[in-house]
Symmetry: C2
Subunit: 198 residues, 2 copies
Amino acid sequence: MIRFAVIGHKAVTEPTFTLNDMPGAAGRMDIMCRCINTSFFLSHDMRRNVECFLILKGGETEKTLVFSGETIRSLNPDERSAGAIIKKGLGTDAGDTFKKAADGIRIRAGGLKELLAEYPFAVLDENGTDIREAESLPENFLLSDHMNFTEEEEELIKDLPRYSVGPRVLHADHTITVLLNEFDRREAGRKEADRVEA
Amino acid sequence: MIRFAVIGHKAVTEPTFTLNDMPGAAGRMDIMCRCINTSFFLSHDMRRNVECFLILKGGETEKTLVFSGETIRSLNPDERSAGAIIKKGLGTDAGDTFKKAADGIRIRAGGLKELLAEYPFAVLDENGTDIREAESLPENFLLSDHMNFTEEEEELIKDLPRYSVGPRVLHADHTITVLLNEFDRREAGRKEADRVEA
Protein backbone atom coordinates (compact mmCIF):
# COMPACT_ATOMS: atom_id res chain seq x y z
CA MET A 1 0.00 0.00 0.00
CA ILE A 2 1.23 3.47 -0.91
CA ARG A 3 0.08 6.21 1.46
CA PHE A 4 0.05 9.97 1.06
CA ALA A 5 -0.78 12.32 3.91
CA VAL A 6 -1.40 15.97 3.13
CA ILE A 7 -1.65 18.67 5.78
CA GLY A 8 -4.31 21.29 5.10
CA HIS A 9 -3.27 24.02 7.50
CA LYS A 10 -6.39 26.15 7.05
CA ALA A 11 -8.73 23.51 5.61
CA VAL A 12 -12.04 23.57 7.44
CA THR A 13 -13.30 20.62 9.48
CA GLU A 14 -17.05 21.21 9.25
CA PRO A 15 -19.21 20.17 6.29
CA THR A 16 -20.79 23.60 5.96
CA PHE A 17 -18.40 25.01 3.36
CA THR A 18 -19.60 25.88 -0.13
CA LEU A 19 -18.23 24.08 -3.18
CA ASN A 20 -18.25 27.45 -4.95
CA ASP A 21 -15.42 28.86 -2.85
CA MET A 22 -13.07 26.08 -1.81
CA PRO A 23 -9.88 28.17 -2.11
CA GLY A 24 -11.25 30.95 0.10
CA ALA A 25 -13.85 30.17 2.74
CA ALA A 26 -12.93 26.47 2.91
CA GLY A 27 -9.24 27.19 3.58
CA ARG A 28 -7.64 25.95 0.35
CA MET A 29 -9.77 22.82 0.30
CA ASP A 30 -9.13 22.89 -3.48
CA ILE A 31 -5.60 21.62 -2.79
CA MET A 32 -6.99 18.68 -0.81
CA CYS A 33 -9.35 17.90 -3.71
CA ARG A 34 -6.53 17.87 -6.23
CA CYS A 35 -4.48 15.56 -4.02
CA ILE A 36 -7.40 13.12 -3.99
CA ASN A 37 -7.51 13.32 -7.79
CA THR A 38 -3.82 12.67 -8.32
CA SER A 39 -3.70 9.89 -5.71
CA PHE A 40 -6.29 7.73 -7.41
CA PHE A 41 -6.96 8.48 -11.05
CA LEU A 42 -5.48 6.61 -13.97
CA SER A 43 -6.83 6.80 -17.49
CA HIS A 44 -10.08 4.78 -17.25
CA ASP A 45 -8.89 3.12 -14.05
CA MET A 46 -8.25 3.83 -10.36
CA ARG A 47 -5.20 3.16 -8.23
CA ARG A 48 -6.52 0.58 -5.80
CA ASN A 49 -3.23 0.31 -3.86
CA VAL A 50 -3.22 3.93 -2.62
CA GLU A 51 -4.56 5.57 0.51
CA CYS A 52 -4.70 9.34 0.88
CA PHE A 53 -4.95 10.98 4.32
CA LEU A 54 -6.16 14.57 4.52
CA ILE A 55 -5.16 16.21 7.80
CA LEU A 56 -7.53 19.16 8.18
CA LYS A 57 -6.34 21.76 10.67
CA GLY A 58 -8.61 24.73 10.00
CA GLY A 59 -11.20 23.99 12.68
CA GLU A 60 -11.47 23.79 16.48
CA THR A 61 -10.41 20.15 16.47
CA GLU A 62 -8.09 18.61 13.92
CA LYS A 63 -9.69 15.91 11.83
CA THR A 64 -8.24 13.31 9.48
CA LEU A 65 -10.10 11.89 6.50
CA VAL A 66 -8.67 8.85 4.78
CA PHE A 67 -9.62 7.79 1.26
CA SER A 68 -8.88 4.18 0.26
CA GLY A 69 -8.51 3.34 -3.39
CA GLU A 70 -9.48 -0.25 -2.69
CA THR A 71 -13.01 0.52 -1.62
CA ILE A 72 -13.83 4.02 -2.81
CA ARG A 73 -16.93 4.45 -4.98
CA SER A 74 -18.43 7.25 -7.02
CA LEU A 75 -15.40 9.51 -7.08
CA ASN A 76 -15.04 11.68 -10.16
CA PRO A 77 -11.86 13.50 -11.12
CA ASP A 78 -13.13 17.07 -10.92
CA GLU A 79 -12.44 19.17 -7.83
CA ARG A 80 -16.09 19.79 -7.12
CA SER A 81 -16.79 16.05 -6.93
CA ALA A 82 -13.92 15.49 -4.49
CA GLY A 83 -15.13 18.50 -2.48
CA ALA A 84 -18.63 17.03 -2.26
CA ILE A 85 -17.21 13.76 -0.92
CA ILE A 86 -15.06 15.61 1.62
CA LYS A 87 -18.20 17.45 2.77
CA LYS A 88 -20.00 14.13 3.12
CA GLY A 89 -17.10 12.70 5.10
CA LEU A 90 -17.04 15.68 7.45
CA GLY A 91 -20.73 15.16 8.14
CA THR A 92 -19.87 12.04 10.12
CA ASP A 93 -18.97 12.46 13.80
CA ALA A 94 -15.23 12.08 14.34
CA GLY A 95 -14.11 10.04 17.35
CA ASP A 96 -10.73 8.75 18.49
CA THR A 97 -10.65 5.91 15.98
CA PHE A 98 -11.33 5.84 12.25
CA LYS A 99 -15.00 5.38 11.46
CA LYS A 100 -16.60 4.77 8.07
CA ALA A 101 -18.10 7.92 6.59
CA ALA A 102 -18.89 6.47 3.16
CA ASP A 103 -17.57 3.66 0.95
CA GLY A 104 -13.79 4.01 1.01
CA ILE A 105 -13.78 7.04 3.33
CA ARG A 106 -13.13 7.08 7.06
CA ILE A 107 -12.81 9.92 9.55
CA ARG A 108 -11.39 10.49 13.02
CA ALA A 109 -10.42 13.34 15.29
CA GLY A 110 -6.67 13.91 15.47
CA GLY A 111 -3.95 14.81 13.06
CA LEU A 112 -0.29 14.37 12.27
CA LYS A 113 0.85 13.20 15.69
CA GLU A 114 -1.62 10.32 15.74
CA LEU A 115 -0.80 9.32 12.16
CA LEU A 116 2.96 9.29 12.75
CA ALA A 117 2.42 6.89 15.65
CA GLU A 118 0.89 4.42 13.21
CA TYR A 119 2.95 4.62 10.01
CA PRO A 120 6.59 5.44 9.27
CA PHE A 121 6.28 8.44 6.96
CA ALA A 122 8.90 10.04 4.75
CA VAL A 123 8.77 13.77 4.07
CA LEU A 124 8.88 15.57 0.74
CA ASP A 125 11.64 18.17 0.88
CA GLU A 126 13.52 19.90 -1.93
CA ASN A 127 16.80 19.02 -0.20
CA GLY A 128 15.94 15.35 0.29
CA THR A 129 17.20 12.31 -1.61
CA ASP A 130 16.14 12.36 -5.24
CA ILE A 131 13.45 9.67 -5.67
CA ARG A 132 15.10 8.54 -8.92
CA GLU A 133 18.38 7.93 -7.10
CA ALA A 134 16.94 6.10 -4.08
CA GLU A 135 17.64 2.37 -4.09
CA SER A 136 14.17 1.70 -2.73
CA LEU A 137 11.29 4.01 -1.95
CA PRO A 138 9.36 4.23 1.31
CA GLU A 139 5.64 3.52 1.10
CA ASN A 140 4.32 6.52 2.98
CA PHE A 141 4.86 10.17 2.10
CA LEU A 142 3.91 13.32 4.01
CA LEU A 143 3.21 16.55 2.13
CA SER A 144 2.08 20.04 3.03
CA ASP A 145 -0.41 22.29 1.26
CA HIS A 146 0.59 25.82 0.14
CA MET A 147 2.11 26.56 3.55
CA ASN A 148 5.36 25.33 5.05
CA PHE A 149 5.31 22.84 7.90
CA THR A 150 4.80 24.69 11.19
CA GLU A 151 7.46 24.65 13.91
CA GLU A 152 5.37 22.16 15.84
CA GLU A 153 5.09 19.90 12.78
CA GLU A 154 8.81 20.23 12.03
CA GLU A 155 9.51 19.04 15.58
CA LEU A 156 7.37 15.93 14.99
CA ILE A 157 9.03 15.09 11.66
CA LYS A 158 12.61 16.18 12.30
CA ASP A 159 14.00 12.63 12.33
CA LEU A 160 12.07 11.33 9.30
CA PRO A 161 13.79 10.54 5.99
CA ARG A 162 13.42 13.21 3.31
CA TYR A 163 12.94 12.82 -0.43
CA SER A 164 12.80 15.18 -3.37
CA VAL A 165 10.95 14.75 -6.68
CA GLY A 166 13.26 17.01 -8.65
CA PRO A 167 14.94 20.39 -8.95
CA ARG A 168 11.75 22.48 -8.67
CA VAL A 169 9.38 22.77 -5.74
CA LEU A 170 5.97 21.57 -6.91
CA HIS A 171 2.43 21.75 -5.61
CA ALA A 172 1.47 18.82 -3.38
CA ASP A 173 -0.82 17.26 -6.00
CA HIS A 174 1.84 17.49 -8.72
CA THR A 175 4.36 15.92 -6.34
CA ILE A 176 2.03 12.95 -5.87
CA THR A 177 1.79 12.51 -9.65
CA VAL A 178 5.58 12.47 -10.04
CA LEU A 179 5.97 10.04 -7.14
CA LEU A 180 3.39 7.63 -8.54
CA ASN A 181 5.10 7.72 -11.94
CA GLU A 182 8.31 6.63 -10.22
CA PHE A 183 6.43 3.83 -8.40
CA ASP A 184 4.84 2.74 -11.71
CA ARG A 185 8.24 2.55 -13.38
CA ARG A 186 9.79 0.55 -10.56
CA GLU A 187 6.87 -1.88 -10.52
CA ALA A 188 7.08 -2.33 -14.30
CA GLY A 189 10.85 -2.86 -13.98
CA ARG A 190 10.33 -5.58 -11.37
CA LYS A 191 7.72 -7.32 -13.54
CA GLU A 192 10.05 -7.16 -16.53
CA ALA A 193 12.91 -8.61 -14.44
CA ASP A 194 10.65 -11.44 -13.25
CA ARG A 195 9.62 -12.15 -16.82
CA VAL A 196 13.22 -12.30 -18.06
CA GLU A 197 14.21 -14.58 -15.17
CA ALA A 198 11.33 -17.00 -15.74
CA MET B 1 9.14 27.57 -25.20
CA ILE B 2 7.37 24.35 -24.20
CA ARG B 3 3.92 23.93 -25.73
CA PHE B 4 1.08 21.59 -24.78
CA ALA B 5 -2.03 21.21 -26.90
CA VAL B 6 -5.00 19.35 -25.47
CA ILE B 7 -8.01 18.29 -27.51
CA GLY B 8 -11.33 18.66 -25.72
CA HIS B 9 -13.57 16.54 -27.90
CA LYS B 10 -16.82 17.60 -26.27
CA ALA B 11 -15.67 20.83 -24.62
CA VAL B 12 -18.08 23.65 -25.38
CA THR B 13 -17.06 26.71 -27.39
CA GLU B 14 -19.55 29.24 -26.01
CA PRO B 15 -19.08 31.13 -22.73
CA THR B 16 -22.54 30.23 -21.46
CA PHE B 17 -21.56 27.12 -19.49
CA THR B 18 -21.91 27.04 -15.70
CA LEU B 19 -18.86 26.63 -13.48
CA ASN B 20 -21.00 24.34 -11.31
CA ASP B 21 -21.12 21.56 -13.91
CA MET B 22 -17.96 21.59 -15.97
CA PRO B 23 -17.71 17.78 -16.30
CA GLY B 24 -21.28 17.47 -17.59
CA ALA B 25 -22.88 20.35 -19.46
CA ALA B 26 -19.53 21.92 -20.41
CA GLY B 27 -18.24 18.70 -22.01
CA ARG B 28 -15.44 17.73 -19.61
CA MET B 29 -14.18 21.29 -19.40
CA ASP B 30 -12.78 20.22 -15.99
CA ILE B 31 -10.03 18.35 -17.85
CA MET B 32 -9.08 21.51 -19.75
CA CYS B 33 -8.95 23.40 -16.43
CA ARG B 34 -6.63 20.87 -14.86
CA CYS B 35 -4.33 20.98 -17.89
CA ILE B 36 -4.07 24.75 -17.41
CA ASN B 37 -3.19 24.18 -13.77
CA THR B 38 -0.48 21.61 -14.41
CA SER B 39 1.01 23.59 -17.32
CA PHE B 40 1.74 26.68 -15.27
CA PHE B 41 1.84 26.22 -11.53
CA LEU B 42 4.95 25.80 -9.46
CA SER B 43 5.07 26.22 -5.71
CA HIS B 44 4.78 30.02 -5.28
CA ASP B 45 5.80 30.56 -8.89
CA MET B 46 4.55 30.17 -12.48
CA ARG B 47 6.14 28.49 -15.46
CA ARG B 48 6.72 31.44 -17.77
CA ASN B 49 8.19 29.33 -20.58
CA VAL B 50 5.04 27.29 -21.23
CA GLU B 51 2.09 27.79 -23.57
CA CYS B 52 -1.03 25.65 -23.35
CA PHE B 53 -3.42 25.33 -26.29
CA LEU B 54 -6.96 24.13 -25.62
CA ILE B 55 -8.62 22.82 -28.78
CA LEU B 56 -12.34 22.91 -28.05
CA LYS B 57 -14.44 20.76 -30.34
CA GLY B 58 -17.81 20.63 -28.63
CA GLY B 59 -19.46 23.49 -30.55
CA GLU B 60 -20.52 24.35 -34.06
CA THR B 61 -17.10 25.76 -34.90
CA GLU B 62 -13.88 24.51 -33.37
CA LYS B 63 -12.06 27.12 -31.32
CA THR B 64 -8.56 27.22 -29.89
CA LEU B 65 -7.63 29.11 -26.74
CA VAL B 66 -3.97 29.61 -25.97
CA PHE B 67 -2.66 30.48 -22.51
CA SER B 68 0.85 31.96 -22.31
CA GLY B 69 2.78 31.67 -19.06
CA GLU B 70 4.83 34.70 -19.97
CA THR B 71 1.94 37.14 -19.87
CA ILE B 72 -0.88 35.48 -18.00
CA ARG B 73 -2.33 37.31 -14.99
CA SER B 74 -4.77 36.49 -12.21
CA LEU B 75 -4.81 32.73 -12.71
CA ASN B 76 -5.43 30.69 -9.59
CA PRO B 77 -4.78 26.97 -9.32
CA ASP B 78 -8.34 25.81 -8.65
CA GLU B 79 -10.48 24.43 -11.46
CA ARG B 80 -13.19 27.01 -11.00
CA SER B 81 -10.73 29.85 -11.50
CA ALA B 82 -9.40 28.31 -14.71
CA GLY B 83 -12.99 27.72 -15.84
CA ALA B 84 -13.85 31.37 -15.25
CA ILE B 85 -10.91 32.45 -17.40
CA ILE B 86 -11.89 30.02 -20.17
CA LYS B 87 -15.40 31.51 -20.07
CA LYS B 88 -13.92 34.97 -20.36
CA GLY B 89 -11.75 33.87 -23.28
CA LEU B 90 -14.73 32.35 -25.09
CA GLY B 91 -16.57 35.65 -24.74
CA THR B 92 -14.23 37.16 -27.33
CA ASP B 93 -15.11 36.73 -31.01
CA ALA B 94 -12.88 34.13 -32.64
CA GLY B 95 -11.54 34.93 -36.11
CA ASP B 96 -8.98 33.24 -38.34
CA THR B 97 -5.99 34.56 -36.41
CA PHE B 98 -5.25 34.59 -32.69
CA LYS B 99 -6.70 37.63 -30.96
CA LYS B 100 -6.13 38.74 -27.37
CA ALA B 101 -9.01 37.78 -25.09
CA ALA B 102 -7.34 38.78 -21.81
CA ASP B 103 -3.78 39.15 -20.52
CA GLY B 104 -1.96 36.01 -21.61
CA ILE B 105 -4.98 34.48 -23.36
CA ARG B 106 -5.72 34.48 -27.09
CA ILE B 107 -8.48 32.86 -29.13
CA ARG B 108 -9.13 31.91 -32.74
CA ALA B 109 -11.46 29.74 -34.75
CA GLY B 110 -9.88 26.49 -35.92
CA GLY B 111 -8.36 23.49 -34.29
CA LEU B 112 -5.76 20.79 -34.67
CA LYS B 113 -5.19 21.10 -38.41
CA GLU B 114 -4.33 24.79 -38.15
CA LEU B 115 -2.07 24.25 -35.15
CA LEU B 116 -0.13 21.41 -36.79
CA ALA B 117 0.61 23.71 -39.72
CA GLU B 118 2.38 26.07 -37.31
CA TYR B 119 4.29 23.89 -34.88
CA PRO B 120 5.88 20.45 -35.10
CA PHE B 121 4.04 18.53 -32.38
CA ALA B 122 4.88 15.20 -30.82
CA VAL B 123 2.10 12.92 -29.60
CA LEU B 124 1.73 11.24 -26.22
CA ASP B 125 1.21 7.54 -26.77
CA GLU B 126 1.72 4.61 -24.41
CA ASN B 127 3.73 2.85 -27.12
CA GLY B 128 5.96 5.83 -27.86
CA THR B 129 9.57 6.42 -26.88
CA ASP B 130 10.01 6.68 -23.12
CA ILE B 131 10.71 10.36 -22.32
CA ARG B 132 13.44 9.31 -19.88
CA GLU B 133 15.22 7.38 -22.65
CA ALA B 134 14.98 10.05 -25.35
CA GLU B 135 18.27 11.77 -26.09
CA SER B 136 16.48 15.08 -26.46
CA LEU B 137 12.85 16.03 -26.05
CA PRO B 138 10.68 17.88 -28.54
CA GLU B 139 9.21 21.18 -27.37
CA ASN B 140 5.58 20.63 -28.34
CA PHE B 141 3.29 17.86 -27.14
CA LEU B 142 -0.23 16.98 -28.20
CA LEU B 143 -2.60 15.27 -25.77
CA SER B 144 -6.20 14.15 -25.79
CA ASP B 145 -8.84 14.47 -23.07
CA HIS B 146 -10.70 11.38 -21.79
CA MET B 147 -11.41 10.25 -25.35
CA ASN B 148 -9.08 8.67 -27.87
CA PHE B 149 -8.00 10.64 -30.92
CA THR B 150 -10.66 10.36 -33.62
CA GLU B 151 -9.93 8.71 -36.96
CA GLU B 152 -9.70 12.13 -38.55
CA GLU B 153 -7.23 13.29 -35.91
CA GLU B 154 -5.19 10.10 -36.24
CA GLU B 155 -4.90 10.78 -39.93
CA LEU B 156 -3.50 14.26 -39.21
CA ILE B 157 -0.96 12.99 -36.66
CA LYS B 158 -0.01 9.64 -38.15
CA ASP B 159 3.53 10.72 -39.07
CA LEU B 160 4.34 12.58 -35.85
CA PRO B 161 6.86 11.23 -33.34
CA ARG B 162 5.35 9.53 -30.29
CA TYR B 163 6.46 9.60 -26.68
CA SER B 164 5.39 7.83 -23.52
CA VAL B 165 5.65 9.08 -19.92
CA GLY B 166 5.76 5.61 -18.39
CA PRO B 167 4.12 2.20 -18.11
CA ARG B 168 0.64 3.44 -17.14
CA VAL B 169 -1.75 5.54 -19.20
CA LEU B 170 -2.36 8.76 -17.27
CA HIS B 171 -4.85 11.59 -17.47
CA ALA B 172 -3.74 14.46 -19.73
CA ASP B 173 -3.03 16.80 -16.80
CA HIS B 174 -0.96 14.19 -14.97
CA THR B 175 0.97 13.52 -18.17
CA ILE B 176 1.86 17.22 -18.38
CA THR B 177 3.15 17.13 -14.79
CA VAL B 178 5.40 14.16 -15.52
CA LEU B 179 6.68 15.75 -18.74
CA LEU B 180 7.52 19.03 -17.01
CA ASN B 181 9.38 17.16 -14.28
CA GLU B 182 11.53 15.56 -16.99
CA PHE B 183 12.14 19.00 -18.57
CA ASP B 184 13.06 20.42 -15.13
CA ARG B 185 15.57 17.65 -14.56
CA ARG B 186 17.18 18.06 -17.97
CA GLU B 187 17.45 21.82 -17.52
CA ALA B 188 19.00 21.39 -14.06
CA GLY B 189 21.42 18.83 -15.52
CA ARG B 190 22.51 21.28 -18.23
CA LYS B 191 23.03 24.05 -15.67
CA GLU B 192 25.07 21.72 -13.50
CA ALA B 193 27.17 20.67 -16.52
CA ASP B 194 27.77 24.34 -17.39
CA ARG B 195 28.79 25.05 -13.80
CA VAL B 196 31.29 22.18 -13.71
CA GLU B 197 32.77 23.22 -17.06
CA ALA B 198 33.19 26.88 -16.04
